[in-house]
Symmetry: C2
C-alpha cells in the first residue's frame, strides 16, 4: 500500500492536520481581537463566571494547569484580567479593558464559524464539531 493511504487512514495524522488548518483560520479571524483563539476562549470563560478558579478554567478548556498559569500570566500582562489569591485558590476576574473586548471576541467567534460553514455547509460544520466533541469524550473516558 502507498504511504499516503497509511497517513490518511491514521487518526493521529488527520486529526492533527485538521487541527492545524482550523487553527490557522481561527488565528486569522481572531487577529482583530489581538488575541490568539485559546486566549480569547479563556477570557470568555471569565466573562461567563467572574472569579472562576484556574482549576475550573483548565477543566472547561481542557488544558493543563501549567498551561493555564502561562495563559493567565500573559492576559494579566495585557491588563485584560487580574487574579485575587484566596487561600490556595487563584480567582480570576476581567478588568475594564478585558470587558471591553467581549463584543469583539464574540464577533470573531461568529466570523470563524461563518468562515468554515461557508465551505463545509452550516449543518455539516455543526455536525462535525459535535462529532469531534463526542469522540473526544469517548476517548478520554475509556481509559
Amino acid at each position: 500500500m502507498m504511504l499516503e493511504n497509511y497517513l490518511k487512514e491514521c487518526l493521529y495524522f488527520t486529526a492533527n492536520r485538521l487541527s492545524r488548518i482550523v487553527a490557522k483560520m481561527a488565528e486569522e479571524e481572531f487577529r482583530i481581537s489581538g488575541l490568539s483563539p485559546t486566549y480569547a476562549y479563556l477570557l470568555m470563560a471569565v466573562y461567563d463566571k467572574e472569579g472562576i478558579s484556574q482549576k475550573e478554567l483548565g477543566e472547561i478548556l481542557h488544558l493543563n494547569p501549567s498551561t493555564i498559569t502561562r495563559f493567565i500570566e500573559k492576559l494579566t500582562a495585557k491588563n485584560l484580567i487580574y487574579n485575587k489569591v484566596e487561600g490556595r485558590l487563584s480567582l480570576i476576574y476581567t478588568t475594564e479593558k478585558g470587558k471591553e473586548l467581549e463584543e469583539t471576541i464574540y464577533k470573531c467567534w461568529m466570523n470563524l464559524r461563518r468562515r468554515y460553514s461557508d465551505i463545509l455547509g452550516e449543518k455539516e460544520g455543526d455536525e462535525l464539531t459535535l462529532l469531534l466533541d463526542q469522540v473526544s469524550n469517548q476517548l478520554e473516558n475509556k481509559e
Copy 2:
C-alpha cells in the same frame, strides 16, 4: 447560552482538543520506536521513496518546509537518515539503522490504530479518519 456550549460548538476548539488527545495516545504507542509519531511518519515516507526531496516530504506530510528541515536535522542526528545535496535539492535516504526501524514503526502504527478502534469501534474510527481527511481537503482547497 453557557460557555461550554459555545466551546463545543466551535470547530477550532473541538478539532484542537481531539488532536491533543490523539497525539498523546500516538506518542505513547510510538514510544517504543524512540520517535514521536510525526518523525516516524517522515521515516515511512522515506521508506516509501528513497531519495525523496524535502519538498515532497512537506507535501505528503502537510508540513512547512522549515518544519521539514528541522525534522531532517533531528533524524540525521539520530543517524536514521542522511541527505545527498543535488543542486538545490536535498534528497533523503534511510541509513541501515533507519531501515531496521521499519518493522517497529509499522507495529506502532497498528497498535495506535487498534487502540482507538477498541474505543470508537473499528468502522467508526475509520470513517472518522476518512471524514477528517476530506474536510481538511475541502478547507484547504476552498480558499
